[in-house]
Amino acid sequence: MRYLSCGLGAIVEAGKYTCATVEYTGLVSYGALKFGGRVVAHSVRKVTTPVARGITLPFVGMKKVTHQIFGRKNYFDEKFKSVDEKLTNIEAKLVSIENRSMVIRSAVVPTMTPRKIDLGRQALLRKIVEANKSLIDS
């Protein structure tokens, strides 16, 4: 055991002990605060995580869908390109078939209802009929 001596040395020693005490107290307080904080943070996390998950779940789903659609590089470009190529091939085949004087059957059968003919057009058609009648007579 050390004996306290009077004078300046005693004062310095006392100061050192004071500092050590304050330091120790601080460490104890820090440990207590840290432990408390951990407990609180854990509880808060426990409460808030499911809530946050619940809120963000639809967004996660949306993200997955949008990623599927847009995330793949040139998804639409590829699709459009393949459809375009198929159409071009079909058109080329049709042209080639038609060039070999094959019959092209229209997918849509035209309606048989006659067009409305105005009076001017009727007069024109009448003239054609008259010209053909005179041809038959000749």
């Binding site: 070999r100 004087s101 094959m102 019959v103 092209i104 059957r105 229209s106 849509v108 059968v109 035209p110 048989m112 006659p114 067009r115 003919i117 001017g120 057009r121 009727q122 024109l124 058609l125 009448r126 003239k127 054609i128 009929v129 010209a131 053909n132 009648k133 041809l135 038959i136 007579d137 000749s138």
Partner: protein
């Protein structure tokens, strides 16, 4: 049982016969027929008449006939003078017509009424047109003959202030439309058309490559894919047998010269048709020049005509039809469909009365 009415538009062309039907079908065949030369070829084909491309492909085993020349039935200008040949032409043309109608409509059923409009060249004579009526008898129940450039204009609904240039194989028909049926003064026909190009091309190539073996059919096929009149372009080469060996021959200049050979007559005819029109409406006509027919596909022809029109008439705007091959038949079909039933009845009645009277 109610009768089913079918309308057809027919373009009996020198090179191709084209049909459009209102059941949505359309077709064309080269205007050629072949009859087997002997029993062996008849056995090979299994039929008495061979049509179109098949006839051309097997022409060595067939007697080939081309019933249309310069847009009209062969010998129909002077039927009395060459009665036998005319009769044969009528028979062949009739077979061709029957065949192409069967292609789009199948066998004729008793409940079918077939109405048709047949195009004739702009300045076809009455005899030429009567020959068309003659061949359609028994095939079409009702028939009308209309000017080919008119049917083109009708199909495009360009009946006013329009100038139609229809370049076929046998004729080039030029016709101004001014809201009514064109008269003889409104139309003109030149005979330097597709066939003329083929002949000039053949002559020029033969002159340049004396040892090459070539036929007019080879020249025609090559021309149909490569024809041009523009000043600058790629060189065009044709592979022709020279002493039996396929040889690549440059025919750029010959093809260019052959295609250009029809241009002066066309532009002169255009100039005349425009210049003789009412001066107040000439501008409208120059604004609306329509290029139709197979010859309209010649690269650079549109610009060439525009340049000539600018030189001689001050201005000219030329457009090409979208479907040069079907433009005439489509217009004829539209005309056929638009014709009211009572007009058809009237025509049929008139026809039967005239036949009984004669």
């Amino acid at each position: 049982m109610a009768a089913r009415v079918f309308n057809v538009g027919i373009d009996l062309g020198t090179s191709r016969t084209v049909i459009a039907c209102d059941n949505g079908e359309r077709s064309f065949i080269p205007s050629y027929l072949g009859f087997p030369k002997d029993a062996v070829s008849r056995k090979m084909f299994g039929k008495d008449v061979v049509f179109g491309d098949e006839a051309l492909r097997n022409r060595m085993a067939l007697d080939i006939f081309k019933p249309i020349e310069k847009g009209v039935i062969l010998h129909s200008d002077d039927p009395e003078k060459k009665a036998e040949q005319y009769k044969k032409s009528l028979y062949v043309a009739r077979e061709l017509l029957k065949h192409i109608i069967q292609r789009v409509l199948g066998e004729k059923q008793p409940d079918m009424i077939i109405r048709g409009v047949i195009g004739a060249p702009a300045l076809a004579t009455k005899q030429n047109k009567k020959a068309l009526l003659e061949i359609s008898r028994g095939i079409l129940d009702d028939v009308l003959i209309a000017s080919e450039p008119f049917t083109v204009a009708y199909g495009l609904n360009l009946l006013n202030n329009t100038l139609i240039i229809d370049i076929g194989a046998g004729t080039v028909d030029i016709c101004r439309m001014h809201g009514t049926i064109p008269s003889d003064e409104d139309q003109t026909t030149t005979f330097k058309a597709g066939d003329y190009i083929d002949q000039v091309f053949l002559d020029l190539v033969t002159k340049k490559y004396k040892e090459a073996n070539l036929t007019i059919n080879m020249m025609r096929r090559f021309k149909e894919e490569n024809a041009f009149v523009s000043e600058r372009g790629e060189r065009v080469c044709i592979v022709l047998p020279v002493n039996g060996k396929p040889t690549n021959l440059d025919v750029t200049d010959e093809l260019w010269a052959a295609c250009r050979s029809i241009v002066p007559e066309i532009v002169e005819a255009v100039r005349k048709i425009v210049a003789t029109f009412d001066p107040e409406f000439q501008d409208g006509l120059k604004e609306n020049v329509i290029l139709a027919g197979g010859g309209s596909q010649i690269a650079g022809l549109k610009k060439e005509i525009e340049a000539h029109m600018e030189k001689t008439l001050g201005y000219g705007k030329v457009r090409k039809v979208e479907e040069p091959l079907y433009a005439g038949a489509n217009g004829a079909l539209l005309l056929c469909k638009d014709m009211p039933d009572e007009y058809w009845d009237e025509l049929r009645h008139h026809s039967s009365v005239t036949r009984v009277a004669s």
